[in-house]
């Protein structure tokens, strides 16, 4: 019976595990390495805990987290065990070699260790378009996390749930490995687990499973079947090393599988972000599959200890260059990083006083022991550097031969370290310690699109507007200095026929509007003398834009001769504004916001925006703005300044009470007079309007 076989095997595996544990303990004892032993015990306890938690928890999230810690613990245990084995082997080998040959003085120079930090891991995904367009079903989710292993240290990142709305898998954790040698191998493994709700591994009877899988869609059914199959317990993959000792005890619940891996070494270390290739295991049929693009972007930095710690310090005597041969300066020198810092006194080092002088020690430095001075007993040390085209030599000496020897030794070691750590020694790379930050409190969702948009509270409307206007004023001044005036200046010329001419056909409409919007009268005498105020003019212009799209286009593109006016307008006016159904309430609201926020109609239909609109009439522009607070009626006049397409709606909304007058109102505005809308909404729309050249404060 298959079931019996499985239980039998499980039992055997448990027995094996116990035996393994005993073996491990024996080794640890013999090595007298209690530290590793303790770590192994700790991990095993954690793993047992995770198993129990996994068996006990009901919620999917908890189960995933528990499975993740289980995976991490298992990997750690394996790593520690391999370490133990290696140590045992080394010990045995040492005994052997000692017996066989007398070890001569081996030039066993070991490079210094360092810290390696990896952060900002990002793995791009490459979803097929069919996932988006044809796949109407619910989201296929996977839970992923990364396991990072360097030497004996293993860290895992937080778990991220991935579905097809995500374009990249991002892990925010920054992980620092202390004590890495230059020949390190940082292994990054991406584990994933399918996160569908319905399956629990192994317990579904086969008939039901096949029924379910056949009744669901083909691809999801395959995945379902794959995950429900009680597969044979496989030893946790540990990167190709012999499946050492310990198979993972099979527990019900989600199981993570290795999806991709890569190994990073010293050559990948750089002080900036780089992309590395991933080796992907698994294929599309697996339940845990994710369409990875195949690369990973991260920042891998390293700080060797020779750059951060004092390698050597002591008293020296430095001969001053150019002075007479007998003058030596006593200094307290500290060798760190790429320099030899020479302080006057030892106390200066702790006091953080600037060193008296600094001698650079880098890859190009040459150090040699000079000929023995006839006067002194010891050899001098000469340090030569190339500064620009010149060679500068500093001569040092110490008090005794042993000191000289020690300093030379330190210098050789330093050079060796730098040669081993290569690019990490050019400059100190920054490594931020992962700070324990409380996760940002989740804001309660309020369900409306506007509520979900983040708006900086520092964005004060009036300040931003005056800011913008001030900037434009400057620009305008500059421009006027150069002699070119913006083309809209021609609007002010009384005898310009073009301006007066075109809106004529629309005057009737204008007058039609005016009685219904009495508040406009004081501001804007409805007369052919449009040049009275810019504010007026633009509102007129935009009013005219109500009626005919072509009229407005021509008007706008003429007046506002910006480099690419046409690029903006066709978008706006190409849609036959009368026929196209619009989300009226939204547009009307937007237009009210625009009108109110940007200080009146001066924004100018279509072409201008608060950034590039003219400055001299700024006063008139700003004029209406205090009015805006007065009454919502003003919205009606100013909201017409917006895009031609929305202007129809706005006009219809404005003519809510004036439906009879404008043909466009036939669109049937079901919305009532806009209530004073929140500033944030106004801000938002102003910012999202493509005709503004948006600037955001960060």
């Amino acid at each position: 019976m298959p079931v019996d076989k499985f239980t039998n095997m499980e039992e055997k595996l448990w027995i094996l595990e116990d035996l393994n544990m005993m073996y491990i303990r024996q080794i640890a004892l013999s090595l007298q390495d209690s530290d590793l032993q303790k770590k192994i015990d700790h991990e095993i306890r954690m793993r047992d805990g995770a198993c129990k938690l996994l068996a006990a928890c009901s919620q999917r999230d908890q189960a995933l987290e528990a499975a993740k810690s289980l995976q991490t613990c298992s990997t750690r245990i394996l790593a520690y065990m391999s370490e133990l084995q290696r140590m045992k082997e080394a010990q045995v080998m040492q005994k052997v070699t000692r017996r066989s040959s007398d070890a001569g003085p081996m030039d066993d120079r070991m490079p210094c260790k360092g810290k390696v930090a990896i952060s900002d891991l990002r793995i791009p995904l490459m979803w097929k378009d069919t996932e988006y367009f044809k796949n109407k079903g619910e989201l296929h989710r996977c839970a992923v996390f990364c396991l990072l292993q360097l030497g004996g240290e293993i860290f895992d990142t937080d778990m991220v749930i991935v579905d097809r709305t995500l374009t990249d898998i991002c892990f925010d954790n920054a992980i620092v490995f202390s004590d890495a040698s230059p020949g390190f191998e940082l292994r990054v493994e991406l584990y994933s687990c399918c996160s569908e709700d319905d399956y629990s591994a192994g317990s579904t009877p086969r008939k039901l499973a096949s029924k379910l899988s056949s009744s669901l869609g083909r691809s999801s059914g395959k995945k379902l079947r794959a995950s429900m199959e009680p597969g044979p317990v496989s030893p946790v993959s540990n990167g190709g090393a012999s499946p050492l000792l310990l198979p993972v005890p099979s527990v019900p619940g989600p199981k993570y599988h290795l999806l991709a891996h890569t190994t990073l070494t010293l050559s990948h270390v750089q002080d900036s972000f780089r992309t590395h290739d991933l080796t992907i295991s698994g294929n599309e049929e697996c339940s845990y599959w994710l369409p990875l693009y195949g690369s990973m972007c991260c920042r891998l930095a390293a700080q060797p200890h020779c750059m951060t710690q004092k390698m050597m310090s002591g008293c020296l005597k430095v001969k001053q260059c150019g002075a007479d041969l007998q003058s030596w300066t006593k200094v307290y020198a500290v060798l760190k990083g790429t320099s030899l810092f020479c302080y006057h006194r030892q106390e200066d080092v702790e006091a953080n006083v600037e060193p008296a002088f600094t001698i650079g020690i880098n890859k190009e430095t040459r150090i040699r022991a000079a000929e023995k001075d006839p006067q002194s007993k010891v050899q001098n040390i000469c340090i030569s550097n190339q500064y620009g085209g010149e060679e500068v030599t500093h001569t040092l000496t110490t008090d005794s031969r042993e000191d000289t020897h020690r300093w030379m030794e330190a210098f050789w070691q330093h050079f060796y370290d730098m040669s081993q750590w290569k690019q990490c020694c050019d400059d100190l790379m920054k490594i931020e310690l992962p700070s324990l930050r409380k996760p940002a409190p989740a804001t309660p969702k309020q369900g409306s699109l506007y509520h979900e948009m983040v708006i900086e509270s520092s964005d004060d409307l009036s300040s931003s507007v005056s800011d913008i206007l001030a900037r434009r004023l400057q620009e305008l001044e500059l421009r006027s200095q150069l002699g070119t005036s913006p083309t809209w200046m021609s609007l002010f010329e009384e005898n310009s026929p073009k301006i007066v001419g075109r809106p004529r056909p629309c005057t009737s409409r204008l007058s039609g509007h005016s009685p219904c919007t009495p508040h406009r009268l004081p501001r804007s005498p409805v007369s052919p003398h449009r040049c009275a105020q810019m504010g007026l003019l633009s509102s007129d212009v935009s009013l005219t834009s109500d009626s005919d799209s072509h009229c407005s286009t021509s008007l706008c593109s003429h007046h506002y001769g910006w480099p690419e006016p046409s690029s903006n307008f066709p978008i706006l006016s190409s849609s036959p504004s009368r026929l196209r159904p619009r989300t009226l309430s939204l547009d009307a609201k937007l237009s009210t916001l625009r009108g109110r926020g940007l200080g009146g109609g001066g924004v100018g239909g279509g072409g201008g925006n608060c950034h590039c609109s003219c400055q001299p009439p700024s006063s008139s522009l700003l004029g209406p703005s205090p009015i805006s607070s007065r009454s919502p009626r003003l919205q009606h006049s100013t909201q017409t300044t917006l895009s031609c397409s929305s202007s129809t709606s706005s006009s219809s909304s404005s003519s809510n009470s004036e439906c009879s007058h404008s043909p466009e109102s036939s669109e049937g505005v079901p919305f009532s007079r806009p209530s004073p809308v929140r500033r944030s909404l106004r801000n938002l729309r102003a910012r999202l309007d493509p005709r503004n050249w948006l600037q955001s404060q960060v």
Partner: protein, 124 residues
């Protein structure tokens, strides 16, 4: 910094690392950005090429973190913490700079004066 859409671009770039300053609940960087693929590139006063829809630094708060780090008004931002900024919308750019979890942003910026400096040093 000539720019042909769709073609790879080369530029002399400088790395700038800005430590965000905490002000109450906000992390500020002390500069303003403009531009984006959803914005009108013709209105960018800092770009050389008026079809460049990249993200430009439009204002620097004097004494702020960006100023201290060496960011200059008129810089074009190419990358932020490894994320590309040459083909993003304005809001995406803003979001990438203002992530609450990050205390440090590492920018890759370019400016005309860098190219000039390189040319000068090469001609010596």
């Amino acid at each position: 910094m000539s720019y042909i859409p769709g073609q790879p671009m080369t530029a002399v770039a400088q790395r700038i690392e800005i430590q965000k300053l905490r002000q109450g609940d906000h992390l500020i960087l002390g500069f303003s950005i403009g531009g984006g693929i959803d914005q009108d590139p013709g209105q960018n006063p800092f770009s050389e090429d008026k079809t460049d829809k990249g993200i430009y630094v439009t204002r620097i708060t004097p004494g702020g973190p960006a100023d201290v780090a060496g960011l200059v008004m008129g810089d074009k931002i190419l990358q932020v913490n490894g994320w590309d900024m040459t083909m993003v919308t304005h809001d995406q750019a803003r979001k990438r700079l203002t992530k609450k979890k990050e205390d440090v942003v590492r920018l890759l910026v370019t400016r005309k004066s860098l190219e000039k400096a390189v040319k000068q040093s090469m001609s010596h």
